[in-house]
């Protein structure tokens, strides 16, 4: 009880400090010089109508590489932790409802397609590699919800993840060799503004990111699913 009171007191002080921070905060009326540059020059320099994508994939592409790495390493850790010898073991499960089965058969291809659509068009419309990858992984969840015993190959996801990850690095290095720096999207022509095949390497990078994120999230989910086999 005293502990909770104490925590409350601490959080109150912390809240007070946040409050003082908010008090001094000024709402901006116009873009700051940095974002102004991105908004004004972005379409010319990078060629992507979606400015967030231009920043994520090119201007701050190095962050995105880190971001992908975080997912990658998390997936690897989950794999490391949940390594199970009982992968092949079968266990009895209650069969899922017909509605789920039917919906899964209907929705799965659409979801995959939608995921691909999202990351392919990341430079044009809201969305991108992460969002697309997440949609793909959601499709995998649906499959597993319908049948936890679905014979989905870990290996395939691992290979997909490695191929896309390695290709991402290759594109980055090509940027050093052919263009202005690591992850520069100018290794491919910028193309016509607003087209699918435009904005240099962005669609390519975002596709790899999408595939990578999709396979990483999926493999986390698959690993977590496999854990059930240990506990039964």
């Amino acid at each position: 009880m005293y502990k909770k009171l104490f925590v409350l007191l601490l959080l109150a002080v912390l809240g007070w400090s946040f409050f003082t921070l908010l008090q001094t905060h000024q709402e901006r009326q116009s873009l700051n010089p940095l974002s102004k540059h991105y908004v004004e020059k972005g379409p010319d320099e990078v060629g992507a109508p979606n400015l967030v994508t231009a920043i994520v994939v090119t201007y701050r592409g190095f962050d995105t590489l880190g971001e992908v790495t975080i997912l990658f390493v998390s997936a690897a850790i989950v794999g490391l932790f949940l390594k199970t010898e009982n992968r092949r073991r079968k266990y009895k499960i209650r069969s899922t409802s017909e509605i789920l089965h039917a919906a899964q058969r209907l929705l799965f291809p659409v979801m995959i397609l939608f995921g691909i659509y999202i990351f392919m068009n990341g430079h044009l419309t809201p969305g991108g590699g992460f969002q697309g990858g997440a949609v793909i992984a959601t499709a995998m969840i649906l499959v597993l919800l319908t049948n936890p015993e679905s014979p989905i190959s870990h290996r395939a996801f691992n290979l997909l993840e490695s191929v896309s990850g390695f290709s991402y690095i290759i594109i980055g290095v090509l940027g050093v060799l052919l263009a202005g720096g690591f992850l520069d999207n100018h290794i491919l022509p910028l193309g016509k503004f607003g087209n699918l095949f435009s904005a240099g390497a962005i669609p390519l990078i975002y596709s790899f990111v999408g595939l990578k994120v999709g396979s990483e999230l999926s493999s986390i989910i698959l690993n977590l699913n496999d854990v059930q086999k240990d506990d039964k």
Binding site: V7, L10, L11, V13, L14, W16, S17, T20, L21, Q23, T24, H25, R28, N32, P33, L34, S35, H37, Y38, E45, T58, Y59, R60, G61, F62, D63, L65, G66, E67, T69, I70, F72, V73, S74, A76, I77, G79, L80, F81, K83, N158, L159, S162, G165, F166, Y168, I169, I170, G172, V173, G175, V176, A179, G180, G181, F182, L183, D184, N185, H186
Partner: protein
């Protein structure tokens, strides 16, 4: 040059490629990882080389083809190159060390490891604040994965605690970063620094959020339980990486982000550093788990690094050497120790006794431990020296004191650990795991540490101004330690002789130095002769003998304070290691080193204050400094007092002398002790006449009386002589406290005298003990017939000691009382005179208990002491006799050297010495007594030629065995009546005091460490408290 971006592409490319491999193809995945790490080493290595030794200028690497602030840039400058090299080198060795672990865990483990190294590299190089956040987060998550490499429940729990803690940190950091962006419209670090956050409204809070998060990441005391638990629970290979790769990364990140506060946070960082340094070292005292201890020590090292970072302005151009010294020492030593701990079976410090009988591993262990403890010539020694000097010159005395207190706590547990391993009688039965891939990294770290030492010695050579040949000689003895002992002994003696002849001309104009130079080298060489009695290799003896003597010689030849201090510490370390070789020396040697270093820290402060006054590090400027600030002299004096074992600081001495090996005691007691006097002469000559010396005179009196009384009650022969040393040190201290020429002459006279008879006595008693295998005098007795030569030595020794004519001791007293009367210290003089009477008691006890009375049956066939013990005794006796007959040989040059001191000197007329109080002619005294002696002896022989000779065992024993055999010896507890009368004087108040101090320290450390209760939630709470407290403190309340 390969662009540094390839550090990223190589690491990540490899990590991603690993997905193609299968777990069973560990050769491919492991090979890829090692190859990648090798490449990364080459990249950062080539940059380091080019930036430090070539004409390469620092470069900025722009990503995405745009310049900052529009894109993220990495920087490769000197700091980045060096630190990424450290990270990658540790990464490579760590991967080799952990290889079987990683292999077993499969390719995922290799991936996580690569990503871990990548995160560290980028966090060091990046100049973008948000990117820094991302890559620190990568490192954190990868670390969380690596913690679980050992797959125990304990590791899982520690991992989750780590995750909880770092998640809170990253949340706070992120809020800070995003508000920084909102205030200064950039994420580029240089842009933010230029943006002047502290000047903007709300900017101070932003700075607070960012820096407190980074600070918490460095595991500041006391909000660091999560870090300690990780060190304890993770694999030692991972612990090593956290300490030597993550640690430098975080320190450097704090260093590069710190300027966003515009300097306002520098001292705050330093204060948290000092709290961490002192606190962690304090709590480490009670640790018994190796890895946890190393964890505490790593945190403490991070703390002292923060001090340097926070005080970079004060340190100026020396900052880089301080930081590098601290960083490198921790890097090599901590990695080495962590990796060694992985070889040891078991978690406790005691388990390290498995290293016994493995000289190379023991050497590495000692190298790492004493480097961490800051003994020369470790880089940390120079770093701390520089830190103290610069702090002193900025008036940072409080900083100095706390740094030294923290260092002292560090010393306590490091030396105790080492002592346990060396001194423990039990040897763990388990065998260490000596796989080559684990030994090689440890060895490489050892070599690296030695290389860094050479670099620092080279760099500080002008400040040291010492001769490096002796230091090379020590190193050579370490390498040649496989040779037989007699060879090493010969080489050492010859080397000392050679050095004496070569360098005597350097000191011959300074009589005081000359005396000590001769005692240290000539006396030392003679005392070493006893070492020829020992067979075998005596591994780990001669390097430390050499270290001790090199230190001693360095004291005399040093011209700078740094050279003096380095020599002082070398001597302390060498003699400590020699003492710790004794069979029961574990505890006493530990106490010895604590007192030695405690004293040395006071010297360090004294030198620091002197540096602050004069700005140069010359010994000759100490006097100038002391005129401005007498504290210089007082600090130095108190420091030296611990070496001469003045009452109150003496408890280390009897045990240390008694437990050292029998041929080591003579030169530790007879020769090395003079180092303290040499120091006192140095320090008292600069504060002569200061009121402080009056107190010092009384301390001398108390020491003389106390030492002598305690000596009388000893049953252990070596302890008896040891206590008598304390007594004589009291005389000398008393004499030196008087600012008159006669007193100082007496003091120097006693120095020579004490060296002669103390070495003789310890050699003689050492020879006896060599034969009897016991130090207890009541187990001896009647040895006069068996060991007549030793008997004569002891007899001559005690005559000299007791100050009975005709030997030189009498002259000492004559000078002494002259001085007392001249100075008017009658009461003190009377007490010292009383102590001289007490000296008779123990002198008698010594000779009667060992040599007179009834011999013991078990010594029926005992032989005279070995010739190598006898020979040096008689060489010294010759010296003593010459000194007794012709004291003017020493006294006249000394008088000349002391001519500038106030007070009357001696008028010499041939052998005839005269003062206003009387005269003394040593030559006549000796002649008269010699004639009387010859006459009496002749008369005795003539008279007793008909007497019947009775054999020692020609008698009947009663059939009873006494229950306590010692009581049957006449000399046992011989002074019991005096004990009743004077016992109150020898109540071990000092011992109580130090014991109480120790147990209070111990108990409070034990109590305080309970703060880390192992609950991850409590740790999180502690962090939030830390944040809130910090906030309140820097805001000065609400």
């Amino acid at each position: 040059m390969v662009t540094p971006i390839h550090l990223v592409s190589v690491a990540l490319g490899t990590a991603f490629l690993l997905g193609f491999t299968k777990d069973r193809n560990w050769k491919i995945s492991g090979g890829l990882v090692l190859l990648a790490l090798l490449l990364m080493n080459l990249i950062s290595g080539s940059w380091t080389y080019a930036l430090f030794f070539g004409d390469q200028v620092p470069v900025q690497v722009f990503t995405a083809g745009f310049k900052p602030p529009f894109s993220i840039n990495l920087q490769m400058g000197r700091f980045e190159a060096a630190i990424t090299l450290m990270i990658n080198f540790a990464g490579l060795l760590g991967a080799i060390y952990l290889f079987d672990r990683l292999k077993k865990a499969g390719r995922y483990a290799f991936m996580v490891y690569m990503v871990f190294i990548l995160g560290l590299n980028v966090a060091v190089m990046t100049r973008d604040l948000f990117n820094l956040f991302v890559f620190m987060e990568i490192t954190t998550i990868a670390t969380a994965g690596l913690i679980f490499l050992v797959q125990t429940g304990k590791a899982a729990a520690a991992g989750l605690k780590y995750m909880i803690a770092t998640s809170i940190i990253s949340g706070v950091l992120l809020i800070g970063i995003i508000f920084a962006y909102s205030l200064v419209s950039t994420l580029n670090l240089d842009g933010i620094i230029d943006g002047g956050l502290p000047l903007i409204k709300g900017g101070a809070m932003v700075v607070f959020l960012i820096l407190i998060a980074l600070l918490l990441e460095s595991k500041p005391f006391p909000a660091n339980g999560w870090g300690l638990d990780v060190y304890e629970s993770a694999h030692p290979g991972i612990g090593a990486m956290l300490s030597v790769a993550t640690g430098p990364m975080i320190a450097y990140v704090i260093f590069k982000v710190l300027p966003i506060s515009g300097g306002a946070w520098n001292h705050l960082i330093a204060i948290t550093g000092i709290i961490t340094f002192v606190g962690s070292n304090f709590l480490a005292i009670k640790q018994h788990n190796t890895q946890r201890l190393l964890g505490y020590s790593s945190v403490a090292q991070a703390g002292i690094l923060l001090i340097a970072i926070g005080l970079q302005k004060e340190l100026g151009h020396t900052f880089i050497y301080v930081a590098a010294g601290l960083l490198m020492t921790n890097y090599f030593a901590k990695a080495g120790l962590f990796w060694l701990s992985g070889l040891i079976k078991g978690e406790s410090l005691q388990d390290w006794t498995q290293l016994k009988g493995r000289p190379v591993l023991l050497f590495l262990f000692g190298l790492f431990v004493f480097s961490l403890a800051g003994f020369p010539p470790s880089p940390a020694f120079f770093a701390k020296w520089e830190l103290i000097m610069q702090l002193a010159s900025h008036g940072g005395y409080v900083w100095m004191v706390f740094i030294l207190i923290g260092s002292f706590f560090e010393l306590i547990y490091l030396t105790r650990w080492f002592g346990q391993v060396i001194g423990s009688k039990e040897k763990s039965s388990a065998q260490p795991d000596l796989a080559t891939h684990r030994l090689v990294p440890v060895g490489i770290m050892g070599v690296g540490l030695l290389g860094t030492m050479v670099f620092f010695l080279h760099h500080y050579a002008p400040d040291l101004a010492i001769d490096f040949i002796p230091i090379i000689f020590i190193a050579a003895l370490f390498i040649l330690d496989f040779l037989p002992a007699f060879l090493k002994n010969t080489v050492t003696i010859l080397a000392m002789g050679w050095y004496l002849l070569q360098h005597i001309s350097d000191v011959q104009n300074d009589t005081v130095r000359l005396i000590f130079f001769l005692i240290f080298l000539a006396g030392g060489a003679i005392s070493l002769l006893a070492g020829f009695s020992y067979k075998g290799k005596r591994i780990g003896y001669y390097p430390f003998v050499a270290m001790t003597f090199v230190g001693l010689t360095g004291l005399v030849t040093a011209t700078t304070t740094l050279g003096f201090f380095l020599s002082w510490e070398l001597m302390a370390l060498g003699s400590y290691l020699l003492i710790s070789r004794g069979k029961n020396a574990q505890k006493t040697s530990w106490i010895y080193i604590l007192f030695s270093v405690g004293g040395a820290y006071l010297l360090l402060m004294g030198f620091g204050v002197s540096f602050a006054v004069t700005g140069d590090g010359l010994l000759s400027s100490l006097g100038i400094a002391a005129r401005a600030l007498p504290a210089v002299g007082i600090l130095l004096t108190i420091g030296f007092l611990s070496k001469i074992a003045a009452m109150g600081l003496h408890i280390w001495l009897p045990g240390a002398y008694a437990e050292a090996e029998d041929d080591a005691t003579p030169f530790i007691a007879g020769i090395m002790m003079n180092a303290g006097i040499f120091g006192l002469i140095l320090s008292l000559s600069i504060i002569a006449g200061h009121p402080f010396t009056w107190w010092l005179g009384w301390l001398g009196v108390i020491t003389a009386v106390g030492g002598n009384i305690l000596a009388a009650f000893q049953e252990d022969a070596k302890k008896l002589i040891a206590y008598s040393s304390i007594g004589i040190m009291g005389y000398i201290l008393f004499a030196l406290s008087m600012n008159i020429q006669m007193a100082w002459m007496a003091a120097l006279y006693y120095v020579v005298l004490h060296f002669l008879y103390k070495t003789i006595l310890f050699l003689a008693v050492g020879g006896v003990i060599f034969r009897t295998k016991t130090r207890e005098m009541y187990q001896m007795g009647g040895l006069i017939k068996k060991m007549p030569l030793s008997f004569i030595s002891v007899l001559i020794g005690i005559i000299a000691l007791a100050g009975i004519p005709p030997l030189a001791g009498f002259g000492g007293k004559w000078l002494f009382y002259n001085a007392v009367v001249m100075n008017g210290w009658y009461l003190q003089g009377a007490l010292v005179f009383f102590s001289g009477v007490v000296a008779f008691l123990y002198c008698f006890k010594l000779i009667s208990a060992i040599f007179l009375g009834q011999a013991k049956d078990r010594y029926r066939h005992i032989k005279e002491a070995p010739v190598w013990y006898i020979l040096p005794q008689y060489l010294l006796i010759i010296g003593l006799l010459i000194f007794s007959v012709l004291p003017e040989l020493v006294l006249q040059p000394v008088a000349h050297a002391l001519r500038s001191m106030p007070g009357e000197g001696i008028q010499w007329d041939g052998h005839f010495a005269q003062t206003s109080f009387g005269y003394w002619n040593a030559f006549i005294v000796m002649t008269v007594i010699a004639i009387m002696f010859v006459i009496l002896l002749a008369w005795l022989i003539l008279n007793s030629r008909k007497a019947q000779k009775v054999k020692q065992f020609d008698m009947v024993f009663a059939g009873e065995t006494p229950f306590t055999p010692e009581t049957s010896h006449v000399a046992y507890n011989i002074y019991a009546p005096f004990n009743k009368a004077l016992g109150f004087l020898v109540v071990p108040v000092t011992t109580w005091f130090w014991h109480a101090t120790a147990s209070v320290t111990d108990a409070s450390a034990n109590h305080l460490r309970k703060w880390y209760n192992g609950n991850g939630q409590t740790y999180a709470l502690q962090m939030v408290i830390y944040i809130v407290m910090f906030y309140l403190i820097i805001r000065g309340g609400f």
